[in-house]
Every structure is written in C-alpha cells, then in structure tokens.
C-alpha cells in the first residue's frame, strides 16, 4: 500500500473515531510500535540512500500529520465529552430550599449582647451577681429601710431562707452595684445586666422574671450633666444619632437628684426608657466610699422591653415559651 493511501486511511480513521477510547485505538493502529505507519520504517532500509532520504522524509511528514490530526481530534472529542458530562449535571438550583441549620441566640441575649458591646465601647466593664439576694443588698444598702414606702412598690418575691422577708429574688440588678462598690475602689464604670423578679402574674405585657441592665459610674466630680451626656451617648450608639434624650425629675431612694429618662419617638413624642440619678451619698457611704471625695451616677432599664419595642411583640410570654417558631425568627 502506498504511503498516500495509508495516510488517507489514517486521517479518515482519526476523523471517524467516535470517542477518546476509539481514537486511542486508531492512534496505536497507525503510530504505535506495531502500527501500520511505524511498520513502513522497516521498508526504508531496502531503498537507495537518496530515495531512502526522500521516503523517510515523506514517512515522517505523514506520521506527524496523523499525530497532529489525532491531537486535534482528541481536543474536539474531549471538549464534547465534557460538554456532555456538564449537560448531564444540570441542576435547577431553585429546587434547593434547605439551609445549613445554625442555631439562634435568644432575642433577649441578642439585645443584652448589643447593649454590653455599646457600653464596653464607652469604657464600661460588665459586672454580674447572684439572682437571690439578702435584704441588705436588695434594699437596705440602697437606702431603702424596712419601713420605706418604696419597698412595697418593688413587689418582691421572697424565698424561704433566713428570717421572713430577709432573702429574696432580686427586684433589680442594683445589688450588683453594691457588691461592686464594696469590692472595688473607684473609679468604677460598670454595667450590670441580668435577670430580675417581681410578683407580676404572667400576661401579654408582664413576666415575673425579666431582664434589666443598670449602669454605675463612681469617679471624681461625677454630675447629673455627666449622667445626661452618658445616656445621650448610649442612646445615639444604640438607637441612632437622630434619637433625642431628656431627663425628667423623679424619685428613687438610691439616687438624689433622681430622674426618668425618655427617648424621642419618630412621631415626635417621648417614650420613657428607664430611671436614673446621681448616687445617693448614703449609698456610697454604705459601701465604704467617701461621698465627699467621690460622686456617682446610676441608671437602669429593661432589656426585654427593648426587644418588645424593637420587634413590636404583642405577647411578652413568647420570650419564655421557647417555641422554635418564635426563636428562629431572630
């Protein structure tokens, strides 16, 4: 068979190879060790030197042509094989509705963390204390003696330890302020978040156990103006710079002067957020802090209430039902 015929035969076979495997077989059949083109090399020896050179050249060219054609064919076949595979892997991604389940922090925890983070940014540390307290920490050290009318207003839940009405579920986180002042010398810049308790029957707007955060600063020359500025600074960081604050005179046994603090609402009104004031000098003295040298302010408000306000919850009991349909919304 002459070389041209063989070459034609080879290129036709390469072009006709339907897939990569067949192409490999075709290539071996012509260019392999025992391939029909390779076999032509053995015939060269019988030719005259000049003819051998020319025939050798022609054979090399033919083999290169076949190899080249095969490479091109391989590229084409590989591309179409991949295209076929990809086509077979087509997915409708809109069919995927699962999510990788990550848990949700409780709404109250989220609010508490945000509050802590804002106050940490303002130079405060976070203090914590027990939820069951003695009358000293919950009342007396806070300038609320046993006969004081304010005691009744706390609606305290007492526990059966010690003398009657001497041990109770704390009705505010203020005991943490006392414990901090007893154990730490001023300057003091703390916030005390935590669970507090009142004899409120659970309904859409009340829970007997709820969460508060209080702040306490004791330093030199601390004033009502410092309190107003700190509250404004916090409100701007937490609610946004457009929200205004104001203080209104009020009364708490543990602060004097005392105030309620309000934040402005988008409709132009005011919303009462919490109570605050300059720390009553008796409270400082009760904790061994000289009220001549040191002055302080304190403030407090409800964490749950913030969450209720922010999401306009219509039933605060959802905060303790632990229904996942509620928990996973936040």
């Amino acid at each position: 068979m002459d070389l041209d015929t063989l070459l034609q035969e080879a290129t036709d076979a390469v072009a006709a190879a339907p897939d990569l495997e067949s192409l490999a077989v075709v290539e071996r059949g012509f260019l392999g060790k025992k391939g029909s083109l390779t076999a032509q090399k053995k015939l060269l020896g019988s030719l005259e030197p000049d003819a051998r050179k020319a025939a050798g050249q022609a054979l090399n060219d033919a083999m290169a042509t076949v190899a080249q054609t095969a490479t091109e064919r391989r590229t084409t076949l590989a591309a179409s094989a991949e295209a076929e595979q990809l086509a077979g892997e087509r997915l409708d991604l809109t069919e995927t509705m699962d999510e990788l389940q990550r848990g949700r922090a409780h709404l109250v925890t989220q609010a508490r963390d945000r509050l802590e983070d804002v106050f940490v940014g303002m130079g405060f540390t976070v203090a914590e204390g027990p939820e069951v307290e003695s009358a000293w920490y919950n009342f007396e050290a806070l300038n609320i003696p046993e006969w004081h009318p304010a005691r009744g207003s706390f609606d305290t839940i007492f526990v059966e330890l010690g003398e009657p009405e001497q041990v109770m579920l704390r009705s505010h986180t203020s005991p943490v302020q006392i414990r901090t002042m007893e154990n730490q010398k001023p300057p003091i810049y703390i916030v005390a978040p935590g669970r507090t308790f009142r004899t409120d029957t659970a309904d859409a707007t009340h829970l007997p156990a709820f969460n508060q955060i209080e702040g306490l600063v004791v330093d030199r020359n601390i004033s009502l103006g410092d309190l107003a500025g700190t509250i404004e600074s916090f409100v701007h960081a937490f609610f946004g710079g457009e929200v205004e604050t104001r203080l209104r005179p009020s009364y708490f046994p543990f602060t004097e002067p005392s105030a309620e603090f309000d934040i402005s609402t988008p409709d132009g009104g005011w919303l009462e957020l919490g109570g605050c004031g300059v720390v009553n000098p008796n409270v400082l003295a009760n904790c061994g802090i000289d009220p001549e040298e040191w002055q302080g302010f304190a403030f407090g408000f409800g964490i749950d209430r913030l969450a209720v306000m922010r999401y306009q919850l219509d039933d605060i009991r959802e905060l303790v039902n632990n229904d996942v349909r509620f928990l996973r919304q936040f």
Binding site: Q101, R104, G121, P130, V132, N221, D226, E232, L319
Partner: protein
C-alpha cells in the same frame, strides 16, 4: 394625684397659658403628667330629660324601651340597656348628633327593630364620676323646670383642665392641689398665696369641751382638735361634689365630702369623731399594747402590736388606729350633731409599718406615710374645714386644742454651692440657688460658699439626716427648678478600657459554638413546680418561694433539665419536631454550711430531641476543643439522676466532676410528656470557666510525608474505648499526629461481651520521612501495649 386648673388658680390666679405647655412644665418639675383631659368637654348635646314611660323591648331582654321628655314636651323613644331608672326620674340625655367625651357620635338607629333617638347616660359616660353600672339619676340635683337645659349648666360644671399627675414618694406636698399650684407658680414665676379663711365662732370654748394627751410624742408630732356643733349630715353642695368627682372621689355626705375636699385641697388628712361617743372629749395618743384589739370603721376587729399608734378615750380604750383608720364606735352617723375634728401629724415610719401590717393603704394614710405638714397648714386646713361646714349650718366653737409632740427637726442646714454645682454639673451662683429655693418656700441665706436653708414644714422628705444627704436633697430641688433640660451634657471617661472578662468572653464562645452546631438558645423561667425535681430523680431540696404567683412556679431550679424538657414538650405539642436546645443560666443549690444565700451556679445545658447519647458526647467534645479544656474524661455511670441507666456518663474535667452527658431516662421523658429520645449534656459552666482552660501549645506543621495505618482490636465490653485510645496514644509516642476511633463493631465472629474497635492512626515526624522500620516498630509497640494494658487482640 389629680388636679384641676381652676382649683390651682384659687392659689395662684396668674397661672395661665396653653394647657399642654402647663402640663410640660409640671412634668419638668417632676410631677409627670400621666393624662390630661378637658373636663366638661363633649357635653354640649347632653341635656336634662325626664323618664315618661318604661316598657319591655318586644324582641330583646337586655334592653328596654324608654320614653323621655327632653324639654319640648314630646315623648322621644330610646332603647336603653340599663334598668335602674323609674318613671319620673331626671336623667342626662345625649341628643342625636352629640359627640360624647369618648368620641362616640350619637345617631338615630334601630335596635332590634325599635327606633332609638338618643342615649340616656351613665355618670362615667359624661365624665361625672366612675359609676358605669346604671343611668345617672339627677332627681335630687335638678328639677323639672330645667328639662332640656345643657347638663353642664344643670350640674354647674365648667370647662376645666384636669391633670393626672404621677407624684413621687418624696413629694408629700404635691399630694394636694395647693402644693402642686405652689410648684407650678414657682416655675412660672407667678405669685402664690393661700386665701384668707375666716370663720365665725360661737358657744363654749373648745378647750372646755375636750382634752388631748400625747403619751408618745414620737408617734404624734402635733395634735389639733376643734369642736363643731349643730352638724347636719346631709348632701354636700354640688360644686364640692363636682370637684371630688373630677379628682376621682365618690361623694358620700357633707361631712365626709368636706373632709375629703380639705385633704385634696391642702394635703391635710383629717378625722371626725362623734363627740357624744367620747366621754368628756378626752383623747389619749399612745402606742398600742401588744395584743390590744379594736374595731375599725370598716367593721373589722384588728389585733394590734406595740408599734401601732392608737387614739384612746379617757378610759384608755383604743377608738382609732392613728393616722390609718378611724374606729367603728366613734364614727359620725346620720344622727351625729357634734363632732371633734382631728388634724394631726403622724410619724411616717410608724404609719408605714401599720399600713403594711394591716394592709390599709388609703388616701389619708398614704399622705401621712410620705410625711404631711406639721406647721401652719394644719391651722389652715382647720379653718377651711370650718368654713365649709359652717356653710352647711354647723357652728364652730371658739379656739382649738393644740398639743405638740416631737416635731420633725432638720438634721442639717448648710449646703455648699460648690458641691451642689458639682453634683448637678452646673455653674450657678449662690444668688441663683437662693432664688430657686425661696420660690418653693425653702428660706435660704447665702454666706460665701455656704447656703443656710430652712426646710419648710411641708417637705418632711428633705430634712436630710446628714450633711451629704442634705446637700443632695437641696441640690435636687435647685436642679429641678433650674431645669434638668438646661444642664449641659458631658461624658465622663474612666482610665480603664472597657472590656468583657475572660469568663464573659468564654461564655459567648460557648454560645457561638453551640449556635454553630445548630442549637437554638432557650431561656425558660427559673421556677419549677414542687414535683419537678423528684420527677427527674433529684433531691427535693430546691429553695421555695414564700409568695409564688403560681403553685407550679414555687421552687427555684437546681437543674436545667425540667425546664428544657418542658420546652421540648411544648414544641412537640405544637408540632415543632427535632429541636436542638441549649441554655446557660443560674441554678440554685441549697445554701452551703453557714451561708444565708443559695449556692448559685451557672450551668450549661444542651438537649437534643430525637438524638442518641453519642451526639451529646460529640457536642461536649467540640466544647472541650473550643475552650481547650484539659483532661476531659467520661465515666459511664448506671444511676445518674434522671439519666438512661446504660447511656450516661459523668463528665470529669481536670480531675473534678463537672456534669453529666448521655440520654434522659425514658421514664423521665414520659413524666414530662416528651416522646422519643433526648440526648442531654449539663455542665457546671461557672466552675469550668473558673478552672483550667484555654492553654494551647503550638506544634509546627511537618513538611514531611505522613503514613496512615488502621488497627482494629477486639476488646472486652467493660474496657472503655477511651482507655484503649489512651494506650494507643501513649505507646505510639511522639510520631502519632492523629488518632481516631473509626468503627465499633459487635456481632458475628467476635467473642461474647466484646467488640472490635477500629482506630485510624497517622504517623509523621517533624524532621524526616519515616522509614518502614520506624512504622513497623510503632505498630508493634501499639499492638503489644493494647494487649498488655487492655487485654485487646489485633483483629485478624
């Protein structure tokens, strides 16, 4: 405390301006306006009408048909839901088109087929009282000649502004119309004065008709009595009734109404005794004797203790619970003609204790508890009472009996301008401060930095026990008159950088890890029912609440398990499947020896519904990694409270028991109505975070190839997999970089009571490629060690 603008103007006629702005001024003074309303508004279409005829509605039981004459003589039919009127009664009648105070517009309409042409009104509907039960009957107050006249004219109601104020416990003076007017006048800079009240006196001198002794002068700072004769107990004038109604009090009779009127106007509670029930008019003011009894005017017999104050008669029988409630036997009745009028000052702590012990808060006792006025105001209130009762025909005996006890004294009288400016953050001069204080009756003089302040008798709260307390108290008065809004806002900065403690950061890290593992955070309340602890097999030693709101919330939890099971049960009952919950929170163990307070601990719980014990162990292992806890060991224990006997282990960290892991016992799940399995982990997070944790040592990552091998050992069931793992780790030595248990197999081909544990080991050196000899040596060492230590044989 409610106040009427017109009433305040009797003391400060120049109080004027927009009612809303006046309300804001009151709020800025610390007298927060809870509600402001216009009295007498919306009464334009309400007229006096007469009931002509009553008949049943043919098709309804709960309403009747009423024919009224609204002034034009023509009968007009209305349907009415009240049945308290009779033919001939005069009633307020809202004509068609009237917009009621609550905003409702009266229209002609059909009710069950019968036409209704207006509405007969109850007292509350026209703002004339709290009574909502029936139609207001005005037969006594009006007559038929007034039919068709506007009801406001008939009742003498003038348009007025009513403020409902939140008065704080430190403002006894603001529990009166005059006191609020004083503050408001000061803020507006207008004059304030008490009108002169002179009363004609006649008859025998009061002093000859009564005799007062104060036995306990601490209890009673001052006791004043006057004697009134020819008293007629009847109906009080309409204008007094109108004002009482506006301020939320129900008119009773002329004596009671005047008593209440004087209290509301001047803040001085007062009491009237029927003089004929007090032999010789002799009264003794003393503490009760322990166990002494008396019947108060509500008919209740009260047993007293030695802290209660009483007024006794000459025979020393208690006839009044001092400052709190009068006695039954000396009460004024319809037949009373002579009375002893008492006005006194009672010691606030004593009153406060008696109120609490007998649960008798009242308008009067609340004023005494906060500290009433012991000064001229008593005489003023006496004059006012006498003036008003004289208008009803009573005669007033000349003079009064006025016995002093121990009147309150100022604890301190100087306040420094500099310190008060420092407390307020202001820069006021002494003169400015003097001006503010004088405007509310605090007589003040300035000398250098010192103000000398005399606290008025109506501000018991501001007397101040010590120098600093006094200064703070005076600073508050100055501050609220200066205006809190005008104090410059400043932000103090401490030296320390704000931060969370390591404990708090680690608690957040634990929470983040659990959230990442798909667990939702729950926050059940920490209260349990009395059975809950025994239901989970724990000792019934939870701290009990003295005054629980609910019997099922009467014990403080000592474990997080009941709360979590309730949360799971709640979700199962609402068809929320496969919940994975965690919680960090306080538990309350009984107080330790010698301690008053419970042993509070912060626990972490993880509850995986529908999961088996190993999943909880995996959670524990991840947390151990997150916190870098050293030496975490599990000890399988068959009888952990509330736990599945074969699927529970005690968690021991660095040698200390720190919790449990496993599955909740099926019987416990049934008790809490939870179906399926619950994998459970509870740790004493507080102890763990205070104990060793967080230590991590860097080990360079090797650049040389590693070599893997799998080894399966047949080991008896009673040999813990962790023991085998420890043997391998120890015997493989430092070449071991990773070790995992990949399979535990029980069954065919293995001896009874044993299983095959397959471990995957990866060996690697930091400084060289391992040789076959090294690998073989390690493998042989491991096999030998497991054989020796755990009696384990390499599985063929």
């Amino acid at each position: 405390m409610k106040v009427l603008l017109s009433w305040m103007r009797e003391f400060a006629p120049d109080i004027d301006g927009d009612p809303v702005a006046l309300g804001e001024t009151l709020s800025a003074l610390g007298l927060a306006v809870e509600e402001m309303s216009i009295v007498g508004e919306g009464l334009d279409g309400v007229v006096l009408a007469k009931v002509l005829e009553l008949s049943p509605h043919p098709d309804a039981d709960k309403i009747q048909l009423v024919q009224v004459d609204a002034g034009d003589g023509e009968p007009l039919q209305v349907c009415c839901g009240a049945f308290n009127m009779a033919v001939g009664d005069l009633v307020p009648f809202a004509t068609i088109g009237t917009v009621m105070p609550n905003g409702m517009e009266i229209a002609q309409r059909k009710m069950r087929g019968q036409m209704s042409n207006g509405m007969c009104c109850s007292a509350i509907e026209i703002g004339m009282g709290e009574d909502a039960d029936g139609i207001m009957i005005l037969t006594e107050q009006a007559d038929e000649s007034q039919l068709g006249q506007p009801i406001a004219d008939v009742l003498g109601v003038e348009q007025d502004v009513l403020y409902d104020l939140e008065v704080n416990a430190n403002r006894p003076d603001a529990m009166s119309v005059a006191g609020v007017a004083r503050d408001l006048a000061a803020a507006l800079g207008v004059p304030f004065a008490f009108p002169d009240r002179t009363v004609e006196r006649s008859g025998e001198d009061a002093a000859s008709q009564a005799q007062i002794e104060i036995i306990d002068p601490v209890l009673c700072g001052r006791f004043v009595a006057r004697i009134l004769h020819n008293v007629i107990v009847g109906e009080s004038p309409q204008w007094i009734q109108n004002r009482l109604i506006a301020l939320g009090m129900r008119p009773i009779n002329s004596v009671v109404d005047i008593s209440n009127y004087v209290m509301l106007e001047l803040g001085q509670p007062n009491h009237v005794f029927d003089l004929d029930t007090i032999p010789n008019g002799h009264l003794r003011v003393r503490r009760a004797t322990e166990g002494e009894t008396m019947v108060t005017l509500d008919g209740a017999e009260r047993t007293l203790i030695s802290l209660d104050g009483v007024i006794a008669n000459g025979s020393d029988e208690a006839i009044s619970l001092a400052g709190v409630m009068g006695g039954h036997d000396t009460e004024v009745t319809d037949s009373t003609t002579s009375v002893l009028l008492e006005m006194a000052w009672w010691d606030p702590p004593s009153i406060s204790r008696t109120i609490k012990r007998h649960n008798l808060p009242s308008e009067a006792s609340t004023r005494f508890r906060r500290g009433a006025d012991w000064g001229e105001n008593i005489d003023r209130a006496m004059d006012r009472f006498c003036e008003l009762i004289a208008q009803t025909g009573a005669t007033i005996a000349p003079g009064q009996i006025d016995v002093p006890g121990t009147t309150p004294q100022q604890g301190h009288s100087t306040a420094r301008v500099s310190k008060m400016n420092s407390l307020l953050g202001t820069d006021m001069t002494a003169e400015e401060m003097v001006g503010h204080l004088s405007s509310i009756g605090f007589t003040t003089t300035a000398a250098g930095d010192d103000l000398t302040v005399t606290v008025p008798s109506w501000r018991w709260d501001a007397l101040g026990g010590n120098a600093h307390e006094f200064e703070s108290s005076i600073a508050e008065e100055i501050g609220r008159l200066y205006g809190y809004e005008d104090i410059p806002k400043t932000v103090p900065r401490g030296e320390e950088t704000g931060h969370l403690t390591d404990y708090q950061k680690n608690r957040r890290a634990v929470r983040e890890a659990l959230l990442g593992m798909g667990c939702d955070e729950t926050l059940p309340m920490p209260f349990l029912g009395p059975e809950d602890l025994s239901l989970v097999g724990l000792p019934d030693d939870g701290v009990r609440l003295t005054n629980p709101l609910d019997a099922n919330e009467s014990v403080l939890r000592t474990s997080l398990l009941p709360g979590q099971l309730k949360a799971i049960a709640y979700n199962q009952s609402h068809r929320n499947p496969s919940v994975r919950f965690f919680e960090t929170g306080q538990v309350f163990l009984p107080p330790r020896e010698g301690e008053l307070l419970p042993d509070e601990r912060e626990y972490l719980a993880v509850a995986l519904e529908g999961a088996e014990a190993p999943e909880a162990v995996s959670v524990l292992n991840t947390l151990a990694r997150v916190l870098a806890l050293p030496n975490v060991k599990l000890f399988n224990v068959d009888d952990l409270p509330g736990m599945h006997p074969g699927r529970a282990a005690e968690v021991v960290i660095a040698g200390k028991a720190r919790g449990v892991v496993g599955e909740v016992a099926p019987s416990v799940l049934r008790s809490f109505e939870v179906s399926g399995r619950v994998a459970w982990l509870q740790l004493d997070l507080g102890e763990i975070l205070r104990g060793p944790h967080g230590k991590r040592n860097y080990r360079p990552v090797s650049k040389f190839p590693s070599s893997d091998m799998d080894l399966a050992f047949v080991v008896a069931d009673d040999v813990g997999a962790d023991k085998v793992r420890n043997t391998i780790a120890k015997s493989a030595g430092e070449l071991l970089v990773d070790l995992r248990l990949v399979d535990a197999y029980r069954g065919a081909g293995l001896p009874e009571d044993s299983r095959s544990l397959a471990f995957a080991l990866r060996l690697q050196a930091a400084d060289r490629t391992l040789t076959d000899a090294e690998i073989t040596a390690t493998r042989d060492a491991v096999i030998a060690a497991v054989a020796k230590t755990n009696n384990g044989t390499l599985r063929a």
